[in-house]
C-alpha cells in the first residue's frame, strides 16, 4: 500500500543518522580500529547534524506502538521495584575483563618503568610503580648514579601532581574550550604571516632547556624563522649558573664528590637531599659521616648560612651570618686559605669557627669541598670555585663538566631583552612553554603588562595560573609521566623519559607544541624524541640501544667527560648603595619543597612540614627572637614588609639560629590562581625581589599591622626538655666510650612486666634501625610513606589542631643557645613495641601483635576510642577525626596503592612497616620455597632515604643488616626506660666538632 511504503521511506530517512548507522560506518572503517580525531568522524555524512540534535531522531516520534506499551509497562514495573533497591547505594558498573591480556601484566602485580622527573631541567631518575598501567608510586632508579634507588621530596610527591584534578584539562582560547586542531589552525595562520618576515615577530620563552631533543627542535625553528628569538627564564639558580661563568670564563657544571671530602664548607648550601644531585650528595656525605661497622673517623662539616636549613643543621659547626656578609666571608676565607693575613672583617676571622675552618681546609687540600648554595649570588659562587681551586679540589673533589643546559645564558639579560621587545611591540607570536613568568619575574619588568602586548599569546602550562590568565591560547601541558622527553641528571647522565600513562587531560608536551612550527604539526612526542636519538645514535643496532636505554632509565656512559678549567678571583661586585643603612635585610630562598612555586598545588608538599620551621601550608617572615622583640611582634603576628617599592603582608615565625636583623622569605607562595592547594597558601614575596640582586635586598622596612595570621606548625616544642630523645655525642666521646649512648638511658629488665615474656619468634622477626648520624632531615621518607600508604591530606585548619596524618615524622630538636642552636633530626615511625602499650588498652582488639612481632592495626575492627593513641608514648598513631581521605575526586583515586586500605572516618591508623611489602616478599619467597632475603623487604621510607639512614629486616637472621646495626654500640631505644621494647631502634648521632660550642653567630 502507498501509505506503507511512505512510512518505510520516512523511516529510512529518519534512521539515516542514528547511532547504529554511525557505528556501522565506524565498523567498516579500515586501518586503525578507532577514530583518531573528531575530523575523521566529521567525514561521516551528517555526523555534524547528529551531534547538534539534542536527541536521536527516533526519540521524538513513536513509530512502534508495541514499543510504547511495553515501555510504559516496564516503567511501571521499574517504579514499583525501585523501592526495593533504593535502600542500598550501588552504582552501576560494568566490569570488562581483558579479552587479550597485555603482555607482562599480571593483575595484582605492579610493574616498574624507568623514567625521570626533571626539576629545573635536571633529571631525577625514577622507577615508577604501575598497577594495571596506572602509576601509583615513585622510587629512585637504583641503576642511576644520581639516585641509587633514592628520591628527593618533590620527586616523591610528583605522582600526586600527575593526578592533580586542578590541572588544565582542555585547550582554551580566551576562556573557551577549543580543539587542539583549532589551535594548530590558528598557528598555521600566524606562521604564514611570520614566514614572510622571517619570523621577526616570533618569541619563544622557555624555562631552562636541558633536553637535547627540545633544543634541536628550537634550533630547527630558529633556522626556519631566522629572525625569531628564543628566551629562557627561571627565577632560581642564577648565582649558580653565572658564578661558574664568572669564575671559569665559561658555563660549567660543578659535580661534588662528598665521598672523598674530609672537610666540607657549605656556604648557604642546602645540598643534603635537596636540589640537583642532592640525593646522591646526601648518600656520599653520609658515607663519610657514619661510624657503623667499627668506623672511628668522620669528615668535618662546617656551614655558614643565613636561615637554618636541614643541611646547616647537620653541620659540626654552623655560623649564621647576614646575607650581605656572605661575599665578605668567602673573600676573607679565600685570602686566609691563600695564606694572607685576613683583613677587613677582623671580628669574623678572629672567631674560633673561622680559624678552625681555615686550619682544617688547609690541612685537607684536594680532599675538601667549598660549596655555595643555589640561592647565593654569582659572586659567592665564583669565589667558592676559586677557593676550591686554591685548595686543589678542582678535578679531585669538585669535578667540572660542561653545563647541563643546552644554551646557558644570563637569564636576567634574556628576560630583560624579551620585555624590551614586547614593550616595543615587536612580538606578534609569544610562545610561553612552561614556567610562570607573570608570577615569578621581578616586578620592575612589569611582565604581566609586557606579555599582553604580544598579539598572539600561546601558553603551554599545567595550570590555569597567573600566566595562563593573560594568554589567549592555553594548552594543557603534559606531566613528566605522560610524555616522551630526555633530560640530564646532575652529572650529565642522560635519561630518555617515557610516559607511564596516556595524557590524562589530553595534554601536549613542549616537543609536540614545537612540532606545530614544522610541516608535520601532529608528530607525536614519541616520534620526535626517537627521531632525535636516531640521528644522534648512528651505527649499531638502534632498536636494541633504544630499548636498553628506556629500560634502564639512563643512556649508558652518557655522562660528559670532565673539563679542565681554571678559576680566577673575580672583582667584587659593586655593593648596592640604595637601601643600605637602617632597615632589615631580606634574603630570598627557594622553598625546600615547592621550590619557586612550581609545585605549589601539590597538597602533599604543602602539608609536609618544612625541615626546620616545621611549618605547613604557608611561608612565613622568618626572623630571630631578638629581631621580633625589637619589632614588638611574636609568632603569627602579621607584619607589612616594604622593600623595592612594594609592600607585602606576612606572618612572623621566630627561628632560632637566624641572624638578628635579617629576614628569610620563601618564594613560591601566595598564588592568586593555579589551584585549590596553592591558593591561599602563604604570601607572594617575588615583588620584593630586586632585579639587581635576586638573593637578598637591604634596607627593608617592617611594620607591625596588629593582625594575627595563624601558622600551622606540626611541632610546637623544640627543646628536648632534658629527656634526650636524641642521643648524641662527639666523635671524641664515642672513641673514649663507645657505649655512651646506651649508658645515657636506663633500660629496665624486660621481665618487669606482668605479661609472659617467654614468647619466641620462630619465623621472621621484623625490625628497623635508624642511624641519626646519617639522617639529614629532608623529609623524603614522609612523602614516600604518604604515597605508599594512601595517607590523607587534612588541610591547614586540621594541622592547626595537630591532626596531621603522617605515619612517620621527622622531629627536630634544638639544643644549646637559642641564637646559635644545635639542631637534631629524629624520624619517628611506629616503634612496633614488643610490649606495646596500645595493644593492651584497645577494647575491641583492633591493634594486635602478630607472630612476626608486628604491631598490626586492623582498620575494619577499629571503633575509634583513641585510647591506643593516648597510651602511645611516641604519639605515632594518627586518627581520622573526620573523613580525611578523598572519596570523591576521581583522579586522586587512581593514585592510590591498591594494596593498602583507604581509611575512612573514625579509624585509627599508623605505620605498619609497610606490611603490604612484607607480605608481597613473603609470598614470593614461599613460592620459591625459601626465606625472604635480607633486603628483599624495603619499606617506603627506607627505600627513598637519600642518605640510607633507615634499615629494615629480619632480626632472627643474625647476618641481616638490621641485626648488625642493632648490634652497634650506638644502638638505643627511644624511651627505652618505659620497657616498651621497641622494634625500631636508633643509632646515636655522632658529630665531629673541632672545638667546643657547635654553633656561632657573627
Amino acid at each position: 500500500m502507498a501509505t506503507d511504503s511512505d512510512a518505510t521511506n520516512a523511516m529510512n530517512e529518519t534512521s539515516k543518522l542514528n547511532l547504529h548507522s554511525i557505528r556501522t560506518v565506524l565498523d567498516k572503517a579500515k586501518g586503525p580500529n578507532y577514530w583518531r580525531s573528531l575530523d575523521e568522524l566529521f567525514s561521516v555524512d551528517g555526523f555534524k547534524e547528529f551531534l547538534h540534535r539534542e536527541f536521536p531522531r527516533q526519540a521524538g516520534e513513536w513509530i512502534d506502538d508495541e514499543g510504547r506499551r511495553n515501555f510504559i509497562k516496564l516503567m511501571g514495573a521499574s517504579l514499583a521495584l525501585a523501592g526495593l533497591t533504593a535502600c542500598t547505594k550501588q552504582p552501576t558498573e560494568f566490569l570488562v575483563p581483558y579479552v587479550e591480556q597485555p603482555e607482562e601484566l599480571i593483575p595484582g602485580k605492579p610493574l616498574f618503568f624507568a623514567t625521570a622527573f626533571p626539576i629545573h631541567g635536571i633529571a631525577n631518575p625514577v622507577l615508577v610503580e604501575s598497577h594495571s598501567f596506572r602509576p601509583t608510586k615513585v622510587e629512585g632508579n637504583p641503576q642511576h648514579p644520581a639516585s641509587l634507588g633514592s628520591a628527593d621530596v618533590p620527586t616523591q610527591a610528583s605522582i600526586l601532581g600527575l593526578y592533580d584534578p586542578d590541572r588544565l584539562q582542555t585547550v582554551n582560547y580566551i576562556g573557551e574550550t577549543r580543539s587542539y586542531t583549532a589551535f594548530l589552525e590558528a598557528m598555521i595562520g600566524q606562521l604564514g604571516k611570520q614566514r614572510a618576515k622571517n619570523g621577526a615577530g616570533i618569541r619563544i620563552l622557555t624555562e631552562t632547556v636541558t633536553s637535547p631533543t627540545l633544543y634541536s627542535q628550537i634550533q630547527a625553528v630558529l633556522k626556519d624563522y631566522p629572525q625569531a628569538k628564543w628566551r629562557q627564564w627561571e627565577p632560581l639558580n642564577h648565582g649558580r649558573r653565572m658564578g661558574a661563568q664568572q669564575a671559569f670564563g665559561q658555563f660549567l657544571n660543578p659535580v661534588y664528590k662528598f665521598d672523598q671530602a674530609d672537610v666540607i664548607l657549605s656556604v648557604d648550601g642546602n645540598f643534603l637531599g635537596n636540589g640537583p644531585g642532592g640525593v646522591r650528595y646526601a648518600r656520599d656525605w653520609a658515607s663519610k659521616r657514619i661510624v657503623r661497622g667499627g668506623g672511628t673517623t668522620q669528615s668535618r662539616f662546617y656551614a655558614v648560612e643565613t636561615t637554618p636549613t636541614n643541611t646547616g643543621a647537620k653541620a659540626d659547626h654552623r655560623l649564621s651570618i647576614k646575607p650581605s656578609d656572605m661575599a665578605t666571608f668567602v673573600r676573607t676565607l679565600s685570602a686566609a686559605v691563600g695564606g694572607q693575613a685576613p683583613g677587613g672583617a677582623g671580628d669574623l676571622s678572629s672567631q674560633a669557627f673561622f680559624q678552625n675552618l681555615v686550619k682544617d681546609l688547609q690541612a685537607a687540600r684536594g680532599r675538601s669541598i667549598v660549596i655555595a648554595g643555589d640561592d647565593q649570588t654569582a659572586e659567592v659562587h665564583a669565589v667558592c670555585h676559586y677557593i676550591n681551586q686554591q685548595l686543589g679540589n678542582i678535578g679531585q673533589t669538585v669535578v667540572l663538566t660542561p653545563s647541563l643546559e643546552q644554551n646557558p645564558v644570563d637569564q636576567l639579560g634574556d628576560i630583560q631583552a624579551l620585555v624590551n621587545e614586547l614593550n616595543a611591540g615587536q612580538v606578534d607570536l609569544l610562545l610561553i612553554l612552561g614556567g610562570n613568568p607573570a608570577f615569578n619575574t621581578p616586578p620592575a619588568l612589569n611582565m604581566r603588562g609586557a606579555i599582553q602586548r604580544a598579539a598572539m599569546r600561546v601558553r603551554l602550562g599545567q595550570y590555569d595560573d597567573e600566566t595562563s590568565e593573560i594568554c589567549q591560547w592555553v594548552i594543557p601541558e603534559t606531566h613528566a609521566y605522560e610524555m616522551w622527553s630526555d633530560a640530564p641528571s646532575y652529572d650529565g647522565t642522560m635519561t630518555i623519559m617515557q610516559p607511564l600513562i596516556a595524557p590524562l587531560y589530553n595534554g601536549k608536551s613542549a616537543h609536540e607544541i614545537l612540532a606545530a612550527f614544522t610541516v608535520t604539526p601532529e608528530l607525536s612526542g614519541y616520534q620526535i624524541v626517537q627521531n632525535y636519538w636516531k640521528n644522534k645514535q648512528k651505527g649499531g643496532d638502534f632498536d636494541a640501544w633504544w630499548r636498553q636505554s628506556i629500560h634502564d632509565g639512563l643512556i649508558k656512559d652518557s655522562a660528559p667527560a670532565p673539563v679542565n678549567a681554571t678559576a680566577k678571583l673575580i672583582e667584587p661586585h659593586p655593593p648596592r648603595e640604595a637601601g643600605e643603612g637602617n632597615g632589615y635585610e631580606l634574603s630570598f630562598h627557594a622553598d625546600p619543597y615547592i621550590l619557586d612555586g612550581r609545585y605549589a598545588n601539590n597538597a602533599w608538599l604543602q602539608e609536609l612540614p618544612r625541615p626546620i620551621s616545621r611549618l605547613t601550608w604557608d611561608n612565613a617572615v622568618i626572623m630571630s627572637q631578638k629581631t621580633a622583640k625589637d619589632l614588638g611582634v611574636t609568632d603569627e603576628d602579621r607584619v607589612a614588609i616594604t622593600a623595592n617599592g612594594y609592600t607585602v603582608l606576612g606572618a612572623v615565625w621566630r627561628m632560632p639560629g637566624q641572624p638578628d636583623g635579617s629576614i628569610a622569605l620563601s618564594l613560591g607562595y601566595g598564588h592568586r590562581r593555579v589551584g585549590r592547594a596553592a591558593m591561599g597558601a602563604g604570601f607572594d614575596v617575588y615583588p620584593l625581589r630586586d632585579f639587581s640582586n635576586l638573593s637578598y635586598i637591604r634596607g627593608a622596612q617592617i611594620r607591625k599591622t596588629g593582625e594575627l595570621f595563624r601558622l600551622a606548625a606540626v611541632q610546637h616544642h623544640f627543646a628536648m626538655e632534658g629527656r634526650e630523645p636524641v642521643h648524641e655525642g662527639t666523635l671524641n666521646e664515642f672513641r673514649n666510650d663507645p657505649y655512651f649512648a646506651q649508658k645515657e638511658s636506663e633500660t629496665p629488665n624486660k621481665l618487669i612486666t606482668i605479661f609472659p615474656q617467654n614468647w619466641e619468634y620462630h619465623g621472621y622477626a621484623w625490625g628497623m634501625a635508624i642511624d641519626l648520624t646519617a639522617c639529614v632531615g629532608c623529609n623524603a621518607c614522609v612523602v614516600a610513606c604518604q604515597s605508599e600508604n594512601n595517607i590523607a591530606v587534612v588541610g591547614k585548619e586540621q594541622v592547626l589542631n595537630t591532626r596531621e596524618m603522617h605515619w612517620i615524622r621527622v622531629d627536630r630538636y634544638y639544643k644549646g643557645h637559642p641564637e646559635a642552636p644545635e639542631m637534631y633530626f629524629q624520624p619517628v615511625p611506629c616503634q612496633q613495641c614488643e610490649d606495646a602499650p596500645c595493644e593492651l588498652v584497645c577494647p575491641v582488639a583492633a591493634t594486635e601483635h602478630d607472630q612476626e612481632g608486628l604491631n598490626n592495626m586492623v582498620y575494619n575492627r577499629c571503633v575509634g576510642t583513641r585510647y591506643c593513641s593516648n597510651n602511645c608514648p611516641y604519639k605515632v598513631r594518627r586518627f581520622n577525626f573526620l573523613l580525611f581521605s578523598d572519596w570523591v575526586t576521581e583522579s586522586v583515586k587512581l593514585q592510590r596503592n591498591p594494596d593498602v586500605t583507604v581509611r575512612s572516618r573514625g579509624v585509627m591508623e599508623k605505620c605498619t612497616y609497610c606490611v603490604q611489602r612484607i607480605n608481597y616478599a613473603k609470598i614470593t619467597a614461599e613460592k620459591q620455597d625459601r626465606r625472604v632475603y635480607d633486603g628483599e623487604v624495603v619499606p617506603a621510607c627506607a627505600a627513598t632515604c637519600p642518605s640510607q639512614a633507615i634499615i629494615f629486616g629480619d632480626l632472627n637472621d643474625p647476618k641481616s643488616k638490621v641485626s648488625q646495626w642493632k648490634a652497634e654500640k650506638l644502638n638505643y631505644s627511644l624511651l627505652g626506660e618505659l620497657n616498651t621494647r621497641p622494634r625500631t631502634t636508633y643509632l646515636a648521632e655522632i658529630r665531629n666538632p673541632a672545638f667546643e660550642g657547635a654553633g656561632e653567630v657573627s
Binding site: 629527656r723 589542631n801 597510651n871
Partner: protein
C-alpha cells in the same frame, strides 16, 4: 546479757521530720505534689528552659554523627577531651544516690529516707548522661556495640585486658542495678498514688506501674528483703564503678594517669561531687515545693558533713599526687605535676584547688552548714571544681606526655560545649519530669519516721 547501752542522742540540728506531721498528712503532702498541685508557671518555665538546652545535645550529636568526632576539639596527642571529662563527672555525680540509698540503708541511717528517692533518680539520670559519652566519643559510634561480648560471625571477643571494656560492664551493671533498685522502691508509693488518684487514667497508669501492690504483710516482707538484697548489690558498686572508671586512667602509662591512688581518690571524688549535686538540687526543690518540713535542716547538715569529709579525702589525693610526682624522681611524673601547676593550664589547676580544697573548708562551720543559700552556692562551687578536676586529669596529662615533639594544646569547640550543656539539659529535663509525675520523696519511708510508726518491741534475748 547486758542491755545495749542507749547512746545519748547526738546533738542534732533538728529533727528528721518536723513536728505536727501525721501518717495521713505526709501522704497527702507528697502525693499532692503529683496529683493535686497545679502545674505552676515556674515548673513550666524551668522545664522549657531545660528542654531547650537539651536541644543543644540533639543538634551537637546530629552534627557529630554526620561529620565525625573531629567536630570536637580533640587531637593527637589529646585524644580524649570533653567527652571523657563529662563522662567521669556524670558518673561521679551518680554515686551519691547509690551511697544514700544503699549504704545508708544498710547502716540504718533513717535520715536518708526523705532524700533517697530523689538522690536515686538523680543517679539514674546522671548515669544516662554519662553513658551517652562513651558511645558519642567513639570514631564509629554505629559499631560501639562491638565492646559487648556477644556471639558473632566474626568469631571475635572484645579485648578483655582493656579498662574500657571493664567500663562497659561497670556502667551497664550500675545503671541496671540503680534502675531496678529505684523502681522497686517506687512500687509501694505508686500503689499509694493509684489509690489516691481520682482520675481514671491516672489510676490505670499508676495501677499498672504498681504491679499489683496491695500492701499485704507478705508484700512488705518481700519488699524489705528485696530492698536489702539490692542494697547489698548496690553497695559494692559505689566503690567499684568509679574504681573501674579510674582504671581507664590508672592502667595506662601516661604520666598523671598512671597512679595507684586513683581508685580511692576517684571514689571519694565521686561521692563528693554526688553529694554536692544532691545539695544543689534538693535545696531549690524543698524551697519551691515547700518541703522544708520533710527535708529538714538536719538533712542538709548531714549532707554538708559528708561533703566535707569526702572533700578532705579528695584534698589528700591532690596532695599525694603532687608528693609522688616529686618523690618518684621520675622525669615524666615530676614534669607532669610541675606542668599542671605552672603550665598553660595552670589556671584550671589552681581554680580546681580553690573550688575543691579551699572552699569546702567553710563547711567546718555550723553557721555555714545551716545557711541554705550559702550551702547551695558552695555545692555549685564543688560541682564546678569536680568538673575541673576531670578536665585537669584528662587534658593536662595528655597534652604534654613523653616526647616534647608531640606536645600540643587542647581547646574545646562550640560542639563540645553544646554536647556538655545538652547533657545538663537532659539531666534537668528528666529531673523536672520526675518531680512532676512521680513522688520525689518516699512516702512510706517518711511515714516510718513518724513517732506513730514506731513499734516498741521487747528486745529479743
Amino acid at each position: 546479757m547486758q542491755q545495749p547501752v542507749e547512746l545519748p542522742d547526738r546533738i542534732e540540728v533538728g529533727p528528721v521530720i518536723d513536728e505536727g506531721h501525721s501518717l495521713a498528712s505526709v501522704s497527702d503532702k507528697i502525693t499532692g505534689i503529683v496529683l493535686k498541685r497545679k502545674t505552676t508557671l515556674g515548673w513550666i518555665f524551668g522545664f522549657l528552659v531545660s528542654f531547650a538546652v537539651l536541644q543543644n545535645l540533639m543538634a551537637a550529636a546530629t552534627w557529630l554523627f554526620v561529620k565525625g568526632v573531629g567536630v570536637w576539639g580533640i587531637n593527637i596527642p589529646v585524644g580524649w577531651g570533653f567527652a571523657i571529662v563529662n563522662f567521669v563527672w556524670w558518673i561521679g555525680i551518680g554515686h551519691a544516690g547509690t551511697l544514700i540509698s544503699a549504704i545508708l540503708l544498710l547502716l540504718n541511717q533513717s535520715w536518708r529516707n526523705a532524700i533517697n528517692r530523689f538522690a536515686e533518680a538523680m543517679t539514674l539520670f546522671a548515669v544516662m548522661c554519662a553513658g551517652m559519652f562513651p558511645v558519642l566519643h567513639t570514631g564509629r559510634p554505629w559499631l560501639a556495640y562491638w565492646l559487648f561480648p556477644y556471639p558473632n560471625t566474626m568469631d571475635l571477643w572484645p579485648q578483655f585486658r582493656s579498662p574500657l571494656l571493664w567500663d562497659v560492664f561497670a556502667v551497664s551493671t550500675y545503671f541496671t542495678i540503680s534502675a531496678v533498685f529505684w523502681y522497686v522502691g517506687l512500687i509501694p508509693d505508686l500503689a499509694n498514688l493509684r489509690d489516691t488518684s481520682k482520675k481514671r487514667w491516672q489510676q490505670l497508669v499508676f495501677g499498672g506501674l504498681a504491679m499489683g501492690w496491695r500492701g499485704s504483710a507478705r508484700h512488705w516482707q518481700r519488699y524489705e528483703k528485696a530492698s536489702l538484697l539490692l542494697a547489698g548489690l548496690a553497695t559494692p558498686l559505689v566503690v567499684s564503678v568509679h574504681t573501674v572508671v579510674s582504671f581507664d586512667f590508672a592502667v595506662s602509662i601516661v604520666p598523671g594517669w598512671h597512679t595507684t591512688i586513683f581508685p580511692p581518690y576517684f571514689v571519694a571524688g565521686a561521692i563528693y561531687s554526688g553529694f554536692a549535686m544532691v545539695l544543689s538540687l534538693m535545696i531549690p526543690l524543698r524551697h519551691f515545693y515547700g518541703l522544708q518540713d520533710v527535708i529538714t535542716m538536719r538533712h542538709l547538715n548531714n549532707m554538708a558533713k559528708v561533703t566535707l569529709a569526702t572533700g578532705l579525702i579528695v584534698a589528700y589525693g591532690y596532695m599525694m599526687e603532687a608528693f609522688f610526682g616529686y618523690f618518684s624522681a621520675d622525669t615524666y611524673e615530676k614534669f607532669m605535676i610541675w606542668n599542671r601547676m605552672t603550665g598553660p593550664y595552670a589556671m584550671f589547676y589552681w581554680t580546681l584547688i580553690l573550688c575543691n580544697i579551699i572552699t569546702p573548708q567553710f563547711l567546718w562551720f555550723k553557721r555555714i552548714r545551716t545557711n541554705v543559700f550559702v550551702l547551695w552556692c558552695l555545692s555549685i562551687v564543688v560541682n564546678i571544681g569536680m568538673w575541673l578536676e576531670r578536665f585537669v586529669i584528662v587534658i593536662t596529662s595528655l597534652h604534654r606526655d613523653f616526647l616534647p615533639s608531640s606536645w600540643s594544646m587542647y581547646w574545646p569547640t562550640l560542639w563540645d560545649w553544646m554536647t556538655f550543656t545538652g547533657t545538663l539539659g537532659l539531666f534537668l529535663t528528666c529531673i523536672f519530669l520526675f518531680v512532676r509525675v512521680l513522688p520525689s520523696i518516699t512516702i512510706f519511708e517518711l511515714r516510718m519516721l513518724l513517732p506513730g510508726a514506731r513499734v516498741k518491741e521487747p528486745i529479743a534475748q
